[in-house]
Amino acid sequence: MTSLPETTAKKLGLVIDLDTCVGCQACATSCKEWNAGGYSAPLTDQDAHGSDPHGTWLNRVHSYEVGDGAESRTVHFPRSCLHCETPACVTVCPTGASYKRASDGIVLVNPDTCIGCKLCSWACPYGAREYDYDDGVMKKCTLCVDRIYNESFAPEDRVPACVRACPTGARHFGDLGDPDSAVSQLVSERGGFDLLPEMEFKPVNKYLPPRPRRDQTAQPAPRAVEQPATNSGSLADRFFAWADKTLAR
């Protein structure tokens, strides 16, 4: 049923730190790898070895240049489904294939009932849904629903593949409906924000802003001078000092 649940018991989602993301694409490639075999399988590519290779990916990393002059910066920006609280992609679905789970708030597509009309991709302002040209149905981030509850996994692996893969710890997973959760604390400490809040789809995923630039006009800290090795005058110290000098030649 594409009518939305009144409330969800949990609001599982991601918090993405734009300060520490280095744009390495590890989240995007690990997402593709996991989901090509998991819930979203097959996650197909077209013309993979031809002149126009493209395919269905659930996570895309943009890089932007932001601001001007001394205050300008490069910001790497991963973009995937935000698992909105009031997602239009679900309510426009004519078949009921798109749904938002009342238990944890994850927005999913049932690949057995999706007719591939693409209307959900038109309704989403975030470009989060991609049509699978070979499978004929829509694909989207599942928040790795086939990992996070998987009890055969070690506890540290029960997170979305993108979170597990991120080498800089820029991606965090948790319940954003619980104000005491680590992710909610992180959002309130760092001033996490919504994308396109004026569209009022109430995204669950939050983004953390880049931290303020250090003052570039301040004097650089004096370079640490290498401390000479302590030489107490003992025979051993004098031997090592001689060895150091000789070997350094």
Partner: protein
């Protein structure tokens, strides 16, 4: 937005079909045409054929057309589902009217009830078609109050042009239909002009700065794209070709869809020989078909989706 031919054919053919159905049903209910079985057969047959071709064409846009029946289930929340359900429901009064008109009534009052019920059913279906697009806040050019009314008026206008042709071929009195069609065409031309002005002047409120939340640091400019070739989102939502030619194509579609058929309709009001009337009505219909196809192509191609700000910066 990518102008898919299947969707252009769906909206124009079903629009003209429902429009023709509206004219025939109204004429039947008001006794404006003789109850000639051949007129009923060919008139309603053409309307049903156009509607059905349109609906079948819409399934060609689907990745899984064999599952299309599932689209009837979510009428509580989805305009696309409502459109499908209304389209199927409209076959019932059409069938009642058509059987009564062509073969005679199986039940007393079948002709009148079928005719009267066909009118709201067809209007609701075309309104739902327009609302599929008008209900999307992500696409500024579609999320406009005039979109659904334009769909309805253009259905009446294109259906009216076909009605004139039908009446001319059968040699029946057609001045009432020609007058109504001219009114629908003029009204359509005014609404479409207002619509084009509205989308040209509507503020582009969604920006790359708001979409990324990075506006606090200044302007946001794309540096590296997330992929080397266009993906589905860019192929579907990033269609750029039309905008360069938009103004010229608007003039072409206005001339073909409104100006020429209005002139044809005015000629039909004169007492011309029937063979000339048929020729005028046929040329008007051809012109309106070409015009509405151009208009609908432009409706898709001109529309810009908010997601493009992630890819090219700026506003949408």
């Amino acid at each position: 937005m990518h102008p898919a031919y299947s969707v252009i054919l769906f909206t124009t053919a079903s629009g003209a079909g429902y429009g023709l159905l509206l004219w025939l049903a109204a004429a039947a209910a008001l006794n404006l045409v003789p109850r000639d079985p051949m007129l009923g057969f060919f008139g309603l047959g053409l309307a049903i054929a156009l509607v059905t071709i349109g609906l079948l064409s819409s399934t060609l846009h689907l990745g899984r057309p064999e599952r299309a029946w599932r689209a009837l289930s979510q009428w509580r929340s989805s305009w696309l589902s409502r459109e499908g359900a209304a389209a199927i429901a409209t076959y019932i009064p059409i069938a009642a009217l058509g059987f009564a008109w062509v073969f005679g009534e199986f039940m007393p009052g079948q002709f009148a009830v079928g005719a009267v019920l066909s009118v709201p059913c067809a209007l609701i279906t075309v309104w739902c078609t327009g609302m599929i697009y008008a209900s999307l806040p992500t696409i500024r050019a579609w999320n406009q109050p005039l979109v659904a009314p334009v769909y309805v008026v253009l259905a009446l206008a294109t259906g009216g042009v076909l009605m004139n042709l039908l009446l001319a071929v059968f040699g029946y009195e057609l001045r009432w239909a020609a007058t109504g069609t001219i009114l629908a065409l003029v009204f359509g031309a005014i609404l479409k002009r207002l619509y084009w002005t509205a989308i040209d002047t509507a503020a582009k409120t969604y920006t790359a700065e708001s979409a990324t939340g990075l506006g606090r640091f200044g302007t946001v400019r794309p540096l590296d794209p997330p992929h080397t070739q266009p993906n589905f989102v860019m192929r579907e939502m990033g269609y750029q070709v039309a905008r360069r030619h938009a103004e010229r194509l608007r003039r072409v579609s206005a001339a073909l869809l409104f100006l020429l058929p209005i002139m044809g309709g005015l000629l039909l009001l004169l007492n011309l020989p029937n063979s000339i009337q048929i020729a005028i009505a046929a040329l008007s219909a051809l012109s309106a078909v070409a015009g509405v196809l151009t208009e609908r192509w432009l409706f898709f191609a001109e529309a810009e989706h908010v997601v493009v700000v992630f890819y090219r910066g700026g506003s949408a």
